[in-house]
């Protein structure tokens, strides 16, 4: 015998439609809600910036750190999803060693976990076949959303994808949080990237903090003129969160103009300066910077070799192959 509420929600078309709407439109709000609660638009400037510390990870050769996300990404593609989660566990070891601040942990959690959850959700809805067993079948009123419902097979496939997302984000963020931008540029150019790409990265990392700083100033200026960007205190209340999101969307053109104009204004002058300093005049250029190879680098390389050998073994024996 069904409980009347269950009967309504899962065996009546109105109830089923309400549940389907919730699955389709409330779940995707988890990402923005986590963002508003734990990062906020003002926290953006901390997302992709270097955090100065003295840890073995910080001291590693920047070239190793630049190759690390690539290596981990390749491994995650070769391995099955269960082993990819094991690999994800291994990528947490550097995080333990570098002990990030709570602000960074919070941001890290949001920008890594929220996309992973959304990946599982979207694959659960859309990576389905007619033969899959559905956890919840969408009623006919939801035909227009383009899916028959939420399937177990889709969720499992989503978990596969999420594993790769988690592993790659975790590895890439180690690079971003622990490597000075100048070292990223140096490593990129030393790894034989063209001069133009090196300069583009250099200019990017040089001006990214300024861009966020400027965004922050422009937002303050808009607030001084009466615009309200205050994060809602009771963020779980839909009305407040909706009002905040609406204000943010309406403010986008307001904020974009001064930030964009400010950035573009200097571009011509920057090009003049680069040309006057003989940029791209010769095919090769001298390198001012010299990096010493240390014990930490040898240990990191050995650890990577060990992981690589493990992955090769799993793939060769057929245990961990995707």
């Amino acid at each position: 015998m069904w409980h009347p509420i269950d009967q309504f929600l899962f065996h009546r078309i109105v109830g089923e439609t309400i549940v389907a709407y919730a699955i389709s439109f409330l779940v995707p709000l988890i990402g923005p809600a986590l963002f508003i609660r734990f990062v906020g638009i003002k926290g953006l400037r901390n997302v992709l910036s270097y955090e100065a510390r003295d840890t073995p990870i910080h001291r590693l050769d920047p070239r190793l750190k630049l190759l690390y996300p690539v290596f981990i990404g390749v491994c995650s593609v070769l391995l099955s999803w269960q082993w990819t989660y094991v690999l994800f566990g291994l990528t947490l070891v550097p995080w333990v060693l570098l002990r990030p601040s709570m602000v960074r942990v919070r941001i890290l959690t949001v920008i890594v976990v929220a996309p992973a959850l959304l990946s599982i959700w979207s694959q659960g809805l859309y990576a389905t076949t007619p033969h899959d067993k559905l956890i919840f079948a969408y009623p006919v009123t939801m035909f227009w959303v383009g899916t028959v419902g939420l399937s177990r097979a889709g969720l499992v496939y989503g978990a596969h994808q999420a594993a790769r997302l988690l592993v790659t984000s975790s590895a890439a963020l180690v690079l971003v949080f622990t490597t000075q931008p100048s070292d990223v540029v140096w490593a990129t150019t030393r790894l034989l990237a063209p001069q133009r790409i090196g300069l583009a990265i250099s200019v990017g990392v040089r001006f990214l903090p300024s861009l966020f700083e400027r965004l922050n100033t422009v937002m303050r200026a808009a607030e001084v003129r009466g615009y309200d960007f205050t994060t809602p205190e009771k963020w779980w209340r839909p009305r407040q969160t909706y009002g905040y999101a609406r204000r943010m969307v309406r403010a986008l053109p307001l904020l974009t103009v001064p930030v964009l104009v400010g950035s573009l204004r200097g571009c011509g002058q920057m090009a003049l300066v680069a040309d006057s300093r003989a940029f791209n005049v010769h095919r090769t250029r001298t390198t001012y910077r010299v990096v010493q190879w240390r014990t930490e680098d040898k240990v990191a390389l050995a650890a990577a070799a060990l992981v690589g050998a493990g992955v090769a073994f799993l793939v060769a024996t057929g245990h961990g192959r995707f």
């Binding site: 422009v218 400010g262 003049l272 040309d275 006057s276 300093r277 390198t287």
Partner: protein, 595 residues
């Protein structure tokens, strides 16, 4: 500070020569430059001055070989050549840019867009690396260039962590790393505080007289640059109308005023007292002191005549009560207390990083104090509640471009009403504000089509549409030339007259602004209030101000030096000092009288 002997390290006779018959921009009938015949030898510091739009910056670009190849002009008829002193003559206008930069380096106004790399040494090394010089040579050039600008200790610093003055010195070092005998700088100090300005000017002076470089600097801070100059040019309507040693170039000052350029205060004083200064023109306080000392002036210059009227007790408008603010581990404010009365205009002055802006930011609710309380018109300031705070208090940012969002002047002034944002009591009509800020005939213009000074006035007008009870103005005159600064001063005077009850906190390095508008001066040092008194009394405390990284106006510094010891109060304008000197001279029986 005249030239001391021949330049070192460069062949004698090396020089930059420009013969520009006419340069014009497309669609503009009048030539931007005409009849220019200029020679800049190595070892000489040449200052180029002139009103806005006179062609100074175009001249700088032409001297660096950027016109006409890299910066297109409608019409170019001229030659810019480098003569190396050994008989070789190179036409800069036909050289690739990096070749020209190895003869004449250029440094622009805003260091932000000249620094491409993340770290200082990488920035300076960028040019030599690109030239594919041997590594030892690159290392040597980096070390040498940083040493020349006194920035060796900054080699490993991130550029984003530097002050404006430090950034500009790094930009100069990066240009020097290309090894040019001549440097051209286009308003290199206009965004810098007095300490940063002095740092840069000292570096330029040293580059000329110790390293033998030729330096051309376009500058409008004539009080500051005059003591360092070997030659001064006045450019008006695209022509050089004055080209002389600074002692001769600024006289008669009427010619400079007619061109819309304010001559140095001490030159104006020298000219007004021909009997005292004779044929001499003082360019720095020490020189003026020597001339005035010889006149047998009494130590007492009658400063009682300058006594500021005792202030009326006022109700508190803005207040900081033992406020401490920390950013990470860095102390920005340490138990700082300030009170601003209703209708009072108070100036916050101090070196960069002293805590002035943090005080303003705390009052606005931008930052949260670690301890203490901030009050605004009888209410505690709540951190982060800026829109609410902004109904009582307006904040003019240093870079006003950050405050302008709309597609026209009209839309900016109507922003408050259109977005239904809360206002103070009885907000004025946008048209009233447009008239007040003098932009009533430019309502349809895009804000970015306005000049810098007009944008400044528009941003201020936008704040006034919310009818605030108070204003915080953060460096409102930075980057403005003399004409625009004067227009802003007039606007502030009108605002003060028409909104008599308006309270104003001025955060500034501009002592003209302080002298003209401040009822009271608060000097901030290391996050603490070091002095809180009237401008005349504050500027008399030369020793204390120097310790706090503040430079009083030259006239005030001269008065303090003349009076010796603690004069109590000093004159803050040429006219005031002249009046006092006239009285004193009569008392002392000297043979001169004020003009």
């Amino acid at each position: 500070m005249d030239a001391e002997g021949p330049p070192r390290g460069l062949p004698g006779g090396a020089r930059l020569r420009a013969a520009i018959r006419e340069v014009g921009y497309e669609g503009v009938a009048a030539p931007v430059l005409a009849g220019i015949d200029l020679t800049v030898p190595t070892g000489e510091l040449v200052v180029v001055a002139g009103p806005s739009g006179s062609g100074k910056s175009t001249l700088a670009l032409a001297l660096a070989g950027l016109i006409p190849q890299r910066i297109g002009v409608g019409h170019w008829d001229g030659d810019v050549v480098w003569e190396d002193g050994a008989g070789d003559v190179t036409d800069l206008t036909s050289l690739p840019l990096h070749e020209a930069a190895q003869r004449v380096g250029i440094v622009f106004q805003n260091p932000e867009f000249q620094l491409i790399q993340y770290q200082v040494d990488a920035e300076v090394a960028f040019g030599p690396e690109n030239l594919a010089l041997p590594r030892q040579e690159v290392v040597a050039r980096v070390a040498d260039s940083l040493a020349k600008v006194g920035a060796t200790s900054l080699a490993g610093s991130a550029i984003s962590s530097l002050s404006g003055g430090q950034k500009q010195r790094v930009a100069i070092a990066a240009a020097l790393a290309m090894s040019p005998p001549v440097l051209v700088l286009d308003e290199p100090t206009s965004d810098l505080d007095p300490v940063g300005t002095d740092d840069v000017l000292r570096v330029l002076h040293r580059l000329c007289h110790e390293e033998g470089h030729g330096v051309v600097v376009v500058e409008h801070k004539l009080d500051e640059v005059a003591p360092y100059a070997d030659r001064v040019l006045l450019v008006v309507d695209g022509r050089i109308v004055v080209d002389d040693h600074p002692r001769a170039a600024f006289v008669p000052t009427a010619r400079w005023r007619a061109a819309g350029v304010r001559p140095p205060e001490l030159v104006a004083l020298s000219e007004a007292l021909p009997g005292t200064f004779g044929a001499e023109v003082a360019l720095c306080v020490e020189e003026a002191l020597v001339c005035l000392d010889g006149c047998g002036l009494p130590g007492d210059l009658g400063t009682e005549e300058l006594d500021d009227p005792p202030g009326q007790p006022r109700a508190e408008a803005l207040g900081l009560d033992r406020v401490s603010v920390r950013f990470g581990g860095k102390v920005a404010l340490e138990e700082a207390s300030v009170e601003v009365g209703e209708g009072e205009w108070v100036a916050l002055i101090g070196a960069n990083g002293s805590g002035k802006t943090t005080m303003g930011a705390t009052l606005m609710g931008f930052v949260q104090p670690a301890s203490g309380h901030a009050r605004c018109f009888g209410r505690p300031v709540a951190f982060g509640k800026i829109p609410e705070q902004a109904t009582r208090l307006g904040y003019l940012f240093q870079n006003v471009d950050d405050m302008l969002f709309c597609e026209s002047v009209d839309a900016e002034l109507d922003f408050t009403r259109r977005n239904r944002v809360p206002t103070g009591a009885a907000p004025p009509e946008p048209s009233e504000v447009a008239e007040l800020i003098g932009l009533e005939d430019r309502l349809l213009a895009h804000p970015y089509a306005l000049s810098g000074g007009e944008r400044q006035r528009l941003a201020l007008g936008a704040l006034l549409t919310r009818a605030p009870q108070g204003l915080i103005l953060d460096e409102p005159t930075t980057g403005l030339d003399e004409a625009h600064a004067a227009a802003l001063f007039e606007l502030l005077a009108r605002v003060r007259t028409s909104l008599g009850s308006l309270t104003c906190l001025l955060i500034t390095h501009d002592m003209r602004l302080v002298a003209r508008f401040a009822d009271r001066v608060v000097v901030v040092e290391g996050g603490r209030v070091a002095l809180d008194t009237t401008p005349r009394k504050a500027f008399a405390q030369v020793g204390l101000l120097e310790r706090c990284g503040v430079r009083p106006p030259p006239i005030a510094a001269l008065h303090a030096a003349l009076a010796g010891g603690d004069p109590g109060e000093v004159a803050i304008s040429v006219e005031e000092l002249l009046a006092l000197l006239g009285a004193s001279i009569a008392v002392g029986g000297a043979h001169v009288a004020s003009d």
